[in-house]
Symmetry: C2
Subunit: 225 residues, 2 copies
């Protein structure tokens, strides 16, 4: 039997406590924390436990320890973990975010695509066509995502590409669920719509490319709500 309730080790509890105190304003940004021995006495744990707690928060870029000087606050809260944000968010919200990224990506791709990008389109589209016909679900999903990624990379914008990659795990999971619930799902966003997006980018027509990307992704979004 799996134990659902997981008792946290002391070091993790100590890290949570420190995080809470930082959030409560006990130590301002850039402030120095009390020494290890002091903190250990305050929290009623050993020194090595405090060290591990500090090390964990250092990994999360909240604390920074400098030998001889002390431990300092370098952020008042951990950086947003985007994986977590997307996991918790409504899938419709996620798909609207994806639509924003990919529509703009298609528009810029139409302006900046290189011959290598076009070659990439041909490969990923052919792959997707094969997968849609007779491959298992997960192959089809990967092939579909590969084409969409090719579109975004053709925009030659590192931020857009990184954004897309951040969204991929969440989108992949949603597609898996989709295909389980609805076996006809794959027929609904057909190959033709994808070819059309690639054609518009090839033709260097930004408005058409953006429009077709928007149309396709709106359909995807509508199909889940």
């Amino acid at each position: 039997m799996l134990r659902m309730i997981r008792r946290h080790p002391l070091a993790e509890q100590a890290a949570e406590e420190l995080l809470r105190r930082i959030g409560d304003g006990e130590w301002a940004l850039g402030a120095k924390l009390p020494g290890e021995t002091t903190l250990a006495a305050q929290l009623g744990v050993g020194r090595s436990t405090i060290r591990e707690a500090v090390r964990e928060l250092a990994g999360r870029r909240v604390l920074e320890s400098r030998q001889g000087a002390g431990v300092f606050v370098i952020a008042l809260q951990p950086a947003e973990d985007w994986d977590k944000v997307l996991r918790k968010a409504d899938i419709t919200d996620v798909l609207e975010g994806r639509l924003a990224i990919e529509t703009e990506g298609a528009r810029l791709a139409a302006l900046r695509r290189t011959p290598a990008d076009l070659k990439n389109f041909r490969y990923t589209l052919a792959d997707r066509k094969r997968a849609a016909a007779n491959a298992p679900d997960d192959w089809y999903i990967e092939a579909d995502l590969a084409f969409h990624r090719a579109v975004v990379t053709a925009a030659h914008n590192a931020v857009l590409t990184e954004l897309f990659d951040t969204f991929v795990p969440r989108i992949r999971r949603a597609m898996i669920d989709m295909l389980k619930l609805d076996e006809e799902y794959r027929h609904r966003h057909d190959q033709a719509a994808h070819e059309a997006i690639a054609d518009a980018i090839r033709a260097k027509d930004p408005e058409l490319a953006a429009g077709r990307a928007r149309e396709h992704l709106s359909a995807v979004r509508s199909s889940v709500s």
Copy 2:
């Protein structure tokens, strides 16, 4: 004299080494690492040093240790730190990402804005007008960002809002640099363009709102390149 090269503690070096090995595929996702004593002998450090390295990677959500069972790989690489990504990225790439988010935000806002959102527009626009006239640079920047945030929040999409907030620190820094270099900068994206966006959202015209947002942000983007 400041020491520019910062010698990393052994624990951090050990964490880097483990991260490298994970990236090299020495341990797959879900695999169990050798025991602490074994690792300590392999890397030639003490056991508590290994423990701190593991704890740091646990903080970064790469490893997870379970008492009695072992240490396991739960991610092959640390989650992207978006602050860092945006800091390193070209400002033009960042502004194009912002354009994607905010254009879609304006479009959805025109469909979903509530009376409270409209009130928010009135307040932030009035504030921005005052700040543009006679406030210090940082006030003006905050007022400008507050209005843009109001537009995105009116889309009522948690992912878009979160994305915008992620971009804010980087955009703020860019605006500060802008105002230093060019004292006339604030006159170039004038109040009228902002009022026009709000008007289109108030009129429930998604295409107009998106178009005006795009136009304004394109101008901002062009002004820096």
